[in-house]
């Protein structure tokens, strides 16, 4: 049976600005889910608050649009409760790298089999353009009228440092390749991060499609070995020529957290029968 390629579409039209990179990400995600031959009901999205986080409303899957900065804990709870589902956490760079930084680092080391997509546009879009942790030093925004003083970090350097087992970067302007990275990330057993360079036409117009297109390239083309951790870290360093590597930075094999939980070896928790749990032995134990 061939599947309807439009099955992840929803009727409603996204409210993103015309030209926003989020459209490309939405497209890529749908393509990836299609390529993975999933049905909409098998997918559960946990998203944050920001322009990015609204995506769960416009992908036909079960979708929970939660709090700013908190998509990861929710997604982890979802996966542990219902591990037969494909669980994807998604949000912005403000969401994930500012408010949610603690969860991010801990998700990296926890290695639950979920996928995390970060729409990285260098700004807080929905709150009208304040600099984000990946925005350039000197970036002028309403909260930094004299230029941002903090230096941005490369989120993937942190992801690798914290032990993530699948680390990639995509570009919102190349849906096709991005779809491939997302599909791969979902296939990867364990925590998979895809940081996505995303164009924000309204608040970061200097980093336009053209600006990115002149800079992004695929690490693959340089013969990068994603098993080489040091090389992956090196790839996160700024380049003199300003070029921006994308693609798969790092991949490693490691048991998922779920693999360490024998109680998940059978049916997902959500399928357990809870009508008649016997707690008599516990009470016996207290006598």
């Amino acid at each position: 049976m061939t599947m309807d390629p439009t099955r992840f579409n929803r009727e409603a039209k996204p409210t993103w600005c015309p030209g926003c990179g989020n459209f490309g990400i939405q497209n890529a995600l749908k393509k990836a889910l299609n390529a993975l031959e999933l049905e909409p009901h098998q997918v559960l999205l946990s998203t944050g608050i920001g322009c990015s986080g609204k995506i769960s409303h416009w992908i036909n899957a079960y979708g929970f649009h939660g709090l700013h900065g908190r998509s990861l804990p929710v997604a982890i709870g979802m996966k542990l409760a219902s591990h037969a589902l494909t669980v994807i956490a998604e949000g912005g760079d403000g969401d994930g790298y500012s408010e949610g930084m603690g969860h991010f680092i801990h998700a990296c080391r926890r290695n639950v089999d979920i996928t995390y997509l970060v729409h990285n546009n260098g700004v807080f879009g929905l709150t009208t353009g304040q600099v984000s942790p990946t925005g350039d030093q000197g970036f002028v925004s309403s909260t930094t009228p004299h230029g941002a003083l903090e230096r941005p970090f490369h989120p993937l350097a942190l992801a690798i440092g914290a032990g993530t087992t699948y680390v990639a970067r995509g570009f919102s302007g190349d849906s096709e390749r991005l779809a491939g990275l997302i599909a791969d990330a979902v296939r990867h057993p364990g925590f998979a991060v895809v940081d996505i360079l995303q164009v924000c036409v309204s608040f970061n117009p200097d980093k336009s499609y053209k600006w990115y297109q002149e800079r992004v390239f695929d690490l693959d083309a340089e013969g990068h070995d994603p098993a080489d951790r040091a090389a992956a870290l090196a790839a996160t360093e700024p380049r003199e020529d300003g070029r921006l590597p994308t693609g798969l930075f790092y991949r490693a094999e490691a048991p998922t957290l779920e693999a360490g939980l024998p109680q998940l070896a059978g049916a997902p928790l959500v399928d357990h029968d809870i009508a008649a749990v016997d707690v008599a032995p516990l009470m016996e134990g207290l006598i």
Binding site: F64, G66, L67, I76, G77, Q263
Partner: protein, 578 residues
């Protein structure tokens, strides 16, 4: 007092095994057919300072602890110094007569028996060091209480066998050496005994244990938390059983993550819980409101300790009631229940999940350190009649007419929308913490906003706290009505028992939200005089009653030193008002 009624304390520095010794004694009392109440006091340090474990035992149910000790086992000088004056005439002080330096003058004159033992020599003779001190102390106590050599051996076996042969042998040796010194003359001079009396088997159980068992009975599948006294022992109790009961327990990176995971698990369709104390609850506020807005079932345990801020991390107080009732921005339905003892912890630990799923909203169980960590004795809780009710669930995923979406927030007569578990084929749904329409889509329309607010705020209307939210203990009419809640319940009941036939009753409030306003108002209206008993500085229940039942109770008995009321202390304070 009968010779079977016992009030004992083990005291000593943190690290000396006070709690272990206390627990062993408590269990021995229980197995000897006694009802027991055990109160543990310890500072927020790991070694040194002062810990105590107080055991009150007798043939009737024991409500709480009281001052007059029959026996004090002082494992160090500080314990002797701090508590010697609590020993009643005729009582015993077990202390170190070899190296002990505590000033014990006046005790003998007051009729206190000094059971001085050469503890350092005893532990040395038993082939060990300070780590055998609590076993030696235990031996001394059991000697005084009239246990024979076999009973002593059995007690040690029970307590120390799990640490291996060698440890058992050393502990038994130390215990026996001490027992030999007290079981003769000294025991003969002491007027209390631990002879077995016939009684049904009883659990020695804390509020946290009872709650955890209730939750497991309800089908809890997921618990996430971050260590914080006095909630931690719920997590550790569950974690130990995680494989047996097929549940997942996660120590998260912080409390935000803990409640976030629980919300995620709830969204995915399992019964999920988190627990913390006030400081961690601060960090959970935002997710609490999200659960309210997205209609996600969730159970949160808030076990209070004295605030503000870090406060007294290992002590007790009822200072978070107002906070828990108001936490998080905006209006949404929350069910807040304050159980009064382990039996109620079990019942509401179970029932909370039914309520959370029936009303698709957060349920908060409000405990405190006294309830979470003290022990009482109960026959195993009855489980028949406890039926799991998962609320309104859609059988299959028929999307709303003309839409591709299952109407997650459909407006129904009851206000509760049928739930649909993610993974169900045939449709999908979306939901959000933003204001939304019936289909869970973000909507800023005034109509949708009002419609959905009316829906969620109306849905707990069917929950009648008048039926479960209060208990009037004692005579329906009385000259004085005590009003209290949560963990003061048992001390108050103890005080009332002390006061015998005094014309006083006790209104225990349990449903904090929804609040049994009518019942409370009616009881207070017909009571000539009321006094609030609360373990906080500002009488927070008093404020709640003023707000909800329009009655301001001005007379208060408050304690906010970080300790629970003693039964006799409370009886005296109440007695003054009679």
């Amino acid at each position: 007092m009968s010779m079977n009624q016992l009030n004992m304390m083990v005291g000593g520095a943190a690290g000396l095994g006070v709690k272990t010794a206390g627990e062993i004694l408590a269990r021995l009392c229980t197995r000897a057919g006694r009802h027991v109440f055990g109160n543990v006091e310890y500072p927020s340090v790991i070694r040194g300072d002062h810990n105590s474990y107080q055991i009150v035992a007798g043939e009737a149910f024991q409500h709480g602890h009281r001052r007059e000790l029959d026996l004090l086992l002082a494992l160090d000088d500080l314990a002797a110094t701090l508590h010697k004056d609590e020993i009643r005439p005729g009582g015993v002080l077990v202390h170190d007569s070899e190296k002990g330096q505590a000033d014990l003058s006046g005790l003998a004159e007051r009729g206190v028996m000094l059971a001085g033992l050469p503890f350092p020599s005893i532990v040395k003779e038993a082939g060990g060091d300070k780590r055998l001190l609590n076993a030696a102390g235990l031996g001394a106590v059991l000697g005084l209480l009239g246990l024979d050599r076999e009973a002593l051996a059995a007690a040690c076996q029970d307590a120390f066998a799990r640490f291996g042969e060698a440890v058992l042998a050393a502990n038994l040796a130390a215990a026996r050496l001490a027992w030999e010194r007290t079981s003769g003359e000294m025991a003969a001079a002491f007027d209390r005994r631990l002879a077995p009396v016939a009684a049904p088997p009883r659990m020695l159980v804390t509020g946290n244990e009872a709650l955890a068992i209730g939750a497991l009975k309800a089908g809890l599948k997921f618990y996430a938390g971050y260590p914080m006294t006095p909630a931690s022992s719920i997590m550790t109790y569950l974690a130990r059983r995680e494989r047996d009961y097929g549940i997942v327990v996660k120590h998260a990176e912080d409390e935000i993550s803990a409640i976030g995971m629980a919300v995620g698990a709830g969204v995915a369709g399992v019964r999920a819980m988190t627990g913390t104390s006030g400081g961690g609850f601060c960090l959970m506020c935002e997710f609490l409101g999200l659960a309210g807005m997205t209609e996600t079932p969730l159970v949160v345990v808030e076990s209070q300790r004295p605030g503000p801020a870090t406060g007294l991390p290992t002590r007790t107080e009822q200072g978070d009631l107002t906070f828990v009732l108001a936490a998080s921005q905006g209006d949404f339905p929350r069910i807040v229940i304050a159980p009064g003892d382990p039996a109620e912890c079990f019942r509401w630990g179970f029932e909370a999940f039914n309520l959370a799923e029936r009303y698709q909203t957060p349920v908060i169980l409000l405990l405190d350190k006294h309830l979470s960590e003290s022990t009482w004795t109960y026959a195993p809780f009855a489980t028949d009649g406890l039926a799991v009710d998962r609320g309104v669930r859609a059988a299959a995923a028929a999307p709303a007419a003309g839409a591709d979406l299952f109407p997650r927030h459909a407006v129904t007569e009851s206000g509760v929308s049928p739930a649909l578990r993610p993974g169900t084929p045939g449709a999908t749904w979306t939901t959000t913490g933003d204001a939304h329409d019936d289909l869970g889509r973000i909507s800023e329309e005034e109509g949708d906003r009002v419609r959905q607010m009316d829906k969620i705020l109306g849905k707990t209307r069917g929950l009648d706290a008048g039926t479960y939210g209060w208990t009037l203990h004692g005579p329906p009419e009385a000259a004085l009505t005590i009003v209290g809640w949560g963990s003061t319940t048992q001390p108050i009941l103890g005080a009332l028992a002390d006061l015998g036939d005094a014309p006083v009753n006790f209104l225990q409030v349990r449903g904090m939200n929804p609040f049994p306003a009518e019942a409370v108002a009616a009881i207070l209206a017909r009571s000539p005089r009321a006094v609030l008993v609360e373990n906080n500085a500002t009488a927070q229940l008093g404020d709640l009653i003023a707000e909800r039942a329009s009655i301001r109770i001005n007379d208060t008995i408050l304690k906010y030193s970080g300790r629970q009321f003693l039964v006799d202390e409370l009886a005296a304070a109440i007695g003054e008002r009679l």
